[in-house]
Amino acid sequence: MLGALALIPILIAIAIRVSGGASAGRGPAFLDQITGNGLFVGMTALVVATPLFLPLTIGVVAGDSIAGEASLGTLRYLLVAPAGRIRLLVVKYVVAAVFCAAAALTVVVVGSLIGWALFPIGPVTTLSGGQLTVGEGLLRFLAIGAYVTVSMLGLSAIGLFLSTMTTVPVGAMAATAIIAVAAQIAGALPQLEWLHPWLFTDRWLDFADLLRSPPLWDSFGANALLQFAYIVVFGALAALRFTTKDVLS
């Protein structure tokens, strides 16, 4: 799955390399920057991957966490080991969270590497129009990777909860991915504006705030708080569901 994620920046870099650069203001954000600075391949890939591809892989990992064990039948052996139900949930969530970080880092690191291989690299232009040294720029990219990781934690908790609801892992995976897409659709409808601050997807694309000068950390904090609320809520629901669940598979 990480390999599939790594394909995104590679595809973008090769496409730009073969067909030439994009003009400013067209295509996904940062696309036009790539020919000038290969480091932006990672950023463009994140912009492309965050709305759909990343949530999809998170959905697979989180949705499979409990339901996958249940469908294999290994869940009952883990529980009689005894793993402890809460402990098992926590371990599964930590695994999903680590995957979130690995996924975001894969996109950023592979993007930066392929960009470095195919394009010139140089100082990183911020959204404000100023420039950062390559080192500073890479640090910012890492911070953005961290931002995207945090963004996916709420979804992971939702996936974990859904995974405790079923013994069919595909169902939990699909439901998680559908919720991620539905939340973004709701977030795009102005009629539902009252709902927007409550959506876990609301600040997914605000990671560009870290590419301003000065970097704006407010959205990082607000996003972390929002994701934390989702972790608490769906973590509690998952724990409630899982500790009272009859394991029949």
Partner: protein
């Protein structure tokens, strides 16, 4: 029918244990008593509630009513203290297909907080060796045959020294050789003092392995006790093949036996049909079979024969017949039996 046993000596003890799934009652108020050191055969047709009971004992399923104590501690409240001392094989083995047998065992062992990681390598190797899977330790689990998986499941149950083994259908899918090996394994474990709770729908298995038996039928525990008690609670009958049925009956009545009659009931006929005939003389045509139920204060069988002969009854054949386990089982559960071993 079993003698009251002190709770402290029970490895498993339940009172009114009940599980209801929506409207269907899977387990209906059962009172299990499994003495420590016993090999307890948990017998019952498929769907009689055996697996649900085992899941309740292991804390996988919450009881609707009643209580359960395993190794002296209440389940599932003291699950963390109980389960490390229990090895289990529940409703068939299950593994991650893309991990090797060894990796699967390590994974389950790591899930047990009480299992020291320091000795993990040695314990995994020993468990694999014990079930004879050392040669296939590095093979992916999906490449295992059903029998190998069953043995790997047993190895998982043996990763730690256990006080109680709960084995749900342990010989399922094994060939005759594998079945013998598993039985030998269970016997050797029992010899070490481990309590074994083994569920089966195979009468022969229980008969060969167990010291104690409990029979489930439609969610109820219809009987439990030692294998001997279970056998003896079946009626003992004397069968007399004789040309003088009237005289024979008179003698038997005099000796205090309840005589069924010559014609016998339908059930009796079945019994006779399935039982081998006692020694038969040449002129058996005019002979009739007189059967009578033995009770506790009846004279010994040899005394009965002597009395018959003394009274001039021409005894052509004589047998003391105990109800077979199978017959008992059919009587108790009212169901047919899967006798394929």
């Amino acid at each position: 029918m079993s003698a009251a046993v002190d709770s402290a000596d029970l490895a498993i003890e339940t009172h009114g244990l009940t599980k209801r799934f929506r409207t269907q009652v899977a387990v209906d108020g059962i009172d299990l008593a499994v003495p420590r050191g016993a090999v307890y055969g948990f017998l019952g047709p498929n769907g009689s509630g055996k697996t649900t009971t085992i899941r309740m004992l292991l804390g996988l399923v919450g009881a609707t009513a009643g209580s359960a104590r395993v190794l002296g501690d209440e389940m599932p409240r003291r699950l963390d203290a109980v389960l490390p001392r229990v090895g289990a094989l529940v409703e068939g083995p299950a593994f991650s297909p893309y991990l090797s047998g060894e990796q699967n065992l390590r994974r389950f062992d790591a899930a047990d907080r009480h299992a020291p990681s320091r000795t993990r390598d040695a314990r995994v190797a020993a468990a694999l060796d014990r079930v004879g899977l050392s040669h296939a330790a590095r093979k992916k689990a999906h490449a295992y045959s059903l029998g190998m998986k069953q043995r790997l499941g047993l190895a998982n149950a043996l990763l730690m020294p256990r006080e109680l083994l709960v084995l749900d259908e342990p010989t399922n899918g094994l060939d005759p050789q594998g079945t013998r090996e598993v039985r030998a394994l269970v016997r050797s474990l029992a010899a070490d003092g481990t309590t074994v709770f083994v569920s089966s729908h195979l009468l022969a298995e229980v008969e060969q392995l167990c010291t104690h038996v409990g029979v489930m039928s439609a969610g109820r525990l219809v009987t439990q006790g030692t294998l001997e008690e279970f056998r003896s609670t079946g009626e003992e009958r004397v069968e007399v093949l004789t040309a003088d049925p009237g005289a024979a009956r008179a003698v038997l009545v005099r000796l205090g036996l309840v005589v069924d009659g010559v014609a016998g009931t339908a059930g009796l006929e079945t019994l006779l049909a399935s039982a081998p005939r006692p020694a038969q003389g040449a002129g058996a045509d005019d002979a009739a079979l007189v059967t009578a139920r033995l009770s506790g204060d009846s004279p010994a069988p040899d005394a009965i024969v002597a009395a018959l002969v003394r009274d001039g009854v021409r005894v052509r054949g004589f047998a003391v017949r105990r109800t077979s386990l199978e017959q008992r089982f059919v009587e108790l559960t009212g169901e047919g039996f899967d006798v394929v071993a």
